[in-house]
Assembly symmetry: C2
Homo-oligomer: 374 residues x 2
């Protein structure tokens, strides 16, 4: 039952392109029709009743807004939907179609700028491709078991991007058993499909930079060896150093976390050494920052007394008291490509792992030791 009107009741409201096919209906009682002035949300049934068609017709009319429909009924339905600002219930369509258009993402924490940036890349690309993301933050769960993804599984995400994996992680096996596609992001895990930075190369770049300046007395500060990023960065660094003639003993590797505070603690360890190294490779920028802060307190000048290289190039790195030489990681890109890779898997293809290329950025923290052949 449609009423065409010459004069819309609210002339100052924006009109849709399809014109004023039906009179405006507001939810504050202006409509002459019964049982519509309620508070419950508009559904397709509401629209169907209003327009006088079957609900399945409404559903079809609202699907994939093909630009140039001349079908009058479709236009009428769409205009009413616009007017009422109808938002279809995704819960219902998810249940019915068995496609949630939801991507789960597990992250360790978002206060770490590395993970926040990567996640932002994931979410942006997800939106672009018609998905929404749902987060599970380990930091808020203190649970590294596979159950950290349970809320995502219950929401029937179509796939999961695992940004917080570690050695011995049982989540991949759990998801495989459930036939839920997943991709490792940032960190790798055995033979699982992953999108990450080429951390072996990153480590090599750092080694070459320091070796070129003649360093042989070197310390490595590496956050958590149970995580692939730390492992690979250290391994690439040591191997390349060895190729270039310097063997770095295990005793010269100081473990640390991913934050400023643990960098400061690592620096204290270094200060206890009989002799300070001439160069330090920290496999994380925040850790490097902590080292810098603590050593400065001890009166040591970074870049002159000791060279320091970080990893990732987060925003503050170039602004530290001594601008930090670091290995720049394309974090946003890692996120976006993870999403693409996961979508491939969801669509039934067999994606391959991706290694994105890092780049050395030389700054003042290694300035006094500029490469001989630069």
């Amino acid at each position: 039952m449609i009423e065409h009107s010459e004069a819309p009741s609210s002339p100052n409201r924006a009109q849709s392109d399809s014109g004023k096919l039906i009179r405006e209906i507001t939810d504050d009682g202006e409509s002459p029709m019964e049982d519509t002035r309620d508070t419950s949300p508009v559904t397709m049934a509401t629209l169907a009743k209003r327009v006088g068609v079957h609900i399945s017709t409404v559903s079809r009319a609202l699907q994939e807004p093909r630009q140039h429909t001349t079908n009058k009924t479709t236009l009428i339905i769409r205009e009413l939907a616009d007017q009422l600002d109808f938002q279809p219930d995704a819960t219902a369509s998810r249940l019915r179609t068995r496609r949630s258009r939801l991507i789960g993402v597990t992250v360790p924490s978002l206060t770490d700028p590395v993970h926040a940036t990567t996640y932002e890349g994931i979410d942006k690309q997800a939106l672009r491709r018609g998905y929404s993301t749902m987060l599970s933050m380990s930091a808020n769960l203190d649970d590294r078991s596979p159950s950290r993804a349970n809320s995502l599984i219950r929401s029937r995400v179509e796939g999961i991007i695992i940004q917080d994996t570690f050695e011995g992680d049982l989540l991949p096996a759990t998801l495989r058993k459930r036939h839920i596609p997943y991709v490792m992001c940032l960190r790798k895990n055995d033979d699982e499909v992953s999108v990450a930075v080429d951390d072996l190369l990153g480590g090599r770049l750092a080694a070459e930079h320091l070796a070129a300046a003649g360093h042989t007395e070197i310390a490595i500060i590496s956050p958590d060896s149970s995580v692939s990023t730390g492992r690979d960065r250290v391994e690439g660094f040591r191997r390349r150093m060895l190729e270039l003639g310097t063997r770095i003993d295990d005793s010269r590797i100081v473990p640390a976390g991913f934050d400023i505070a643990s960098g400061q603690r690592a620096a204290e360890t270094l200060l206890d050494w009989p002799k300070l190294p001439t160069a330090i490779f920290a496999s994380n920028d925040l850790t490097a920052a902590g080292i810098m802060f603590r050593l400065r307190e001890a009166g040591i000048t970074i870049g002159r007394d000791v060279a320091l290289v970080g990893y990732n190039d987060i925003e503050i790195s170039k602004h530290l008291p001594v601008p930090l030489t670091t290995i720049a990681s394309p974090l946003h890109e890692v996120g976006a490509r993870s999403l693409d890779t996961l979508v491939e898997a969801i669509e039934g293809r067999t994606p391959r792992s991706l290694k994105l290329t890092p780049q050395l950025l030389a700054r003042e923290s290694t300035l006094a030791f500029a490469p001989v052949n630069a």
Copy 2:
């Protein structure tokens, strides 16, 4: 049809507390029963058929795990559910109960540590209270219109925490029309219910600190006056300064964004002034950091040549080249209390706005101007 077994087929799998009431059924074809070796996820119907009860009995058995049930059927159902690692379909229960247990959160960006910390507080408290959160990041939408919450609305979130509101924001009105509860977080907006830091007080604290050191030539760098935080901090600062005898002219307020880069640009503006101020109040730490970096490049020593006060006390603030005096905000707490307040609204009560108290942290960036009466 239940089969009790003396010897479970996989003795090395963890057993639930209720004992080995039924023989273990795996999904790799060991079960003698038909149509269960498929790939589709386990549903309550699966469990019901397996145990030989009606699906409604399964649903009841799995609800609110009352610890001490002696009901044998219930225990059997629960054990089977455990064994199969059954995760009920939240999509279905959301549709049926019309309660999603989902909270929407709109944020401007998560690479801003202020918003990341606040969101972490929200999510943690949500988990504690049985909710999950769903994000909508304006940074990934370039859309400040109410439609930025559409995906949350379609997912039928029970309420929304708005962390990215601004002057003229139409989202609150949209949500009110839809009867979706919401709370402003961090930022305020007219008479809307909000959980925020007392920014007027924060501004006053900064003013008192600088006034006590005798400053009268002051510049204010404020990120975006369309946002309540910037407005209130500046207003509190100016008012208190006026009470203490110093009028700060509009011409001494330099607009800026929320990041390091815009702080640097603001500093360039200051450098163009005929005379540098003796003190700067930046209503955001990252902005303050940018100012510090740029002024240092120009050979100006923060803390001696010019005093600098920031706002929020993010982690790096104490580690800047000159440790930053700032107004510490309880961001995690703001997040947690926002969630509580929203849940109050969801439960039909009428929550009131909350103002959390900030605190001044004096550091070296204002050291040379230590308060006379400190």
